[in-house]
Symmetry: C2
Subunit: 198 residues, 2 copies
């Protein structure tokens, strides 16, 4: 019942994650209410983001330059590297203010089913870097799930011969969370990760 151009836009929005048919339709009606120049700006932003953004040749973070702003920053500690699954994990860690080293982005976790092995995650590139740059510690910040755990153990085993400190971020109850609502696996990890208080 929608006109062809509207149907195409509904389909375009539905391709985005978390956007179902109803939300897509709401967005389409909103786009129709926008100024034409604003819609053109939005379209340009889409195409340019996709075209300009590429992977940092050093750490595989997203960047529009040859290397990312973190790799270029001379104030960052070059002796410590934090390995994350996705570029979107970096802002989360940066916001904590607890880490001033470099990152390495795997762009996924090991998954034989989806055809992601060590080569796809560019783990050889990471090893090369760890050796060349005299890194003292590698913090593994893969996700706390089956794939993230497997990737963490694989990384730890692979990097072990280099003799540097290998850690993984702590798991437990989220701050401000309610113990009552903690799932059993989080509770299990929180108990395992208990520390002396006095």
């Amino acid at each position: 019942m929608l006109s062809p151009a509207l149907n195409r836009l509904v389909e375009a929005f539905r391709r985005l994650p978390g956007i179902g048919p109803k939300t897509a339709l709401r967005l389409v009606y909103y786009v129709l209410s926008m100024e034409e120049a604003e819609v053109e700006g939005m379209a340009r932003a889409l195409v340019e983001a996709r075209r300009r953004v590429k992977q940092c040749t050093s750490c595989r973070n997203l960047t529009e330059e040859e290397t990312c702003s973190i790799c270029r920053d001379p104030r960052r500690d070059t002796s410590i590297v934090c390995v994350v699954q996705e570029p979107r994990d970096i802002p989360v860690i940066e916001k904590s203010g607890e880490f001033r080293g470099h990152y390495f982005v795997l762009h996924g976790a090991l998954s034989p089913v989806e055809g992601r092995g060590p080569a796809e995650l560019k783990i050889p590139l990471l090893l090369q870097w760890l050796e060349k740059e005299q890194i003292k510690e590698m913090i593994i910040a893969t996700n706390p799930n089956v794939e993230g755990d497997a990737t963490a153990y694989y990384l730890a085993e692979t990097v072990r011969p280099l003799g540097l400190r290998i850690t993984r971020i702590g798991f437990g109850l989220p701050v401000g969370g309610d113990l009552e609502y903690a799932d059993e696996l989080t509770m299990k990890r929180a108990l395992e990760a208990r520390r002396e208080m006095l």
Copy 2:
């Protein structure tokens, strides 16, 4: 911390309704994972929908032609018109299968605060149509809220001299809804709208 092109795309997504900073960021990362051709197709769909879609000269529904598909359909009943606030209300009514007449889209409700009077809602155009086309019934399907109610009463008073049947869609409990969760205004309307069963 994001690159300029990414920031521009985050801002573009945030302009859409219901999309906050976190969702915008998630969409941006998704766009980066798409094929470049697919992103270009999405950008084109945005611009073309905005450029091609205009208002039906007869009923103000959205269309890419001079008049909309409903106005052009010879099987529709031309003696009855349903007045709605927005084009998006039409599919909802169409899906019920209960209505085979024509529509008239106000593109809003009367709102002195936001500067929408009868002229802005093109009510004179509606009156002209009602007179010319020998309409027998006007169903008012504005929203069940203060602005929609005011618009409904204004329309009813304005159209009254034409001597046609003027109705408004029924209000009450939604089918499948749980009485327990009905708000007090819906419950009030549902009681007012009660009907004899036997």
